[in-house]
Symmetry: C2
Subunit: 156 residues, 2 copies
């Protein structure tokens, strides 16, 4: 089962390495990871999406709690929360126009940041399903490059 | 100097731990890190913002290149690129209204995802300066929780 884990940590060198090491030692592949400072610059929040059985993940959460510099760990999976991701996509413009691209992205929270014959750069925000739909639509046009932030989540 | 490093890696367990370990072994604190799959699910892209002298960072780049599972490393700092970040902010609504909040966020790429007496959840996308401005404005209202994705970048 996929879990969305939110970890509050001290913003210090080595914390990320210890936490990602803990997951990889268990052979977990992290589907998505995002780390950023909170409004307190001495504290960062990591949002980790990982697939694991509930029982095994509980053990990992306990081990996370024991790590120095870990302030709190919460599994948002069973709570109400918003999950969002930002993606930047460079689109091949050889077979399309800016106008067509605008129309294609009409229903999504997407912005064309730049557009030239060399390619257009599109910014998209959404939940996992919306992002997947946009990527599928743009794959048909031609994707030259794609960068995702990884998902972040906040309780509603 | 702040560097924006974009690293293409095989999407396998342990890669993140090895890369973040390499940075922390040098005592570098990563300001921001984002990892997400590319349009090829076997390949992920990490965007790392790190402060370091040019000379030292070149050595780290060389060591990154040597790591198994690292496909390519590029320092975007000296190129033209878009840098963006997504932030979710839970705002205290005790001293404001949804209408006032909408007006306050008018000039930014911000969306109010939910709003009640308990608090409003706001989604903001922008470059580092824009995000800083929004955070400052909302701090005056009252921030209950803040989650950042970390910055991603794409060449323009």
């Amino acid at each position: 089962m996929k879990h969305t884990i939110s970890v509050l940590v001290d913003n210090k060198p080595g914390v990320l390495a210890r936490i990602s090491g803990l997951f990889s030692a268990r052979g977990f592949n992290i589907t998505s990871l995002a780390v950023g400072e909170t409004n307190d610059p001495t504290v960062s929040r990591m949002t980790i999406i990982v697939s694991a059985e509930d029982r095994i993940l509980e053990q990992v959460q306990k081990q996370l709690h024991k790590l120095i510099d870990v302030i709190s760990v919460s599994d948002l999976t069973k709570r109400d929360y918003f999950e969002r991701e930002l993606v930047l996509i460079k689109v091949n413009m050889a077979r399309t126009t800016k106008q067509k691209l605008t129309k294609l992205l009409d229903k999504f929270s997407a912005t064309i940041l730049s557009s030239s014959k060399q390619g257009a750069v599109v910014e998209v925000v959404g939940d996992n399903k919306e992002i997947s739909k946009v990527v599928k639509l743009l794959e048909a046009v031609g994707i030259k490059e794609l960068v995702r932030t990884g998902r972040i989540a906040i309780t509603s």
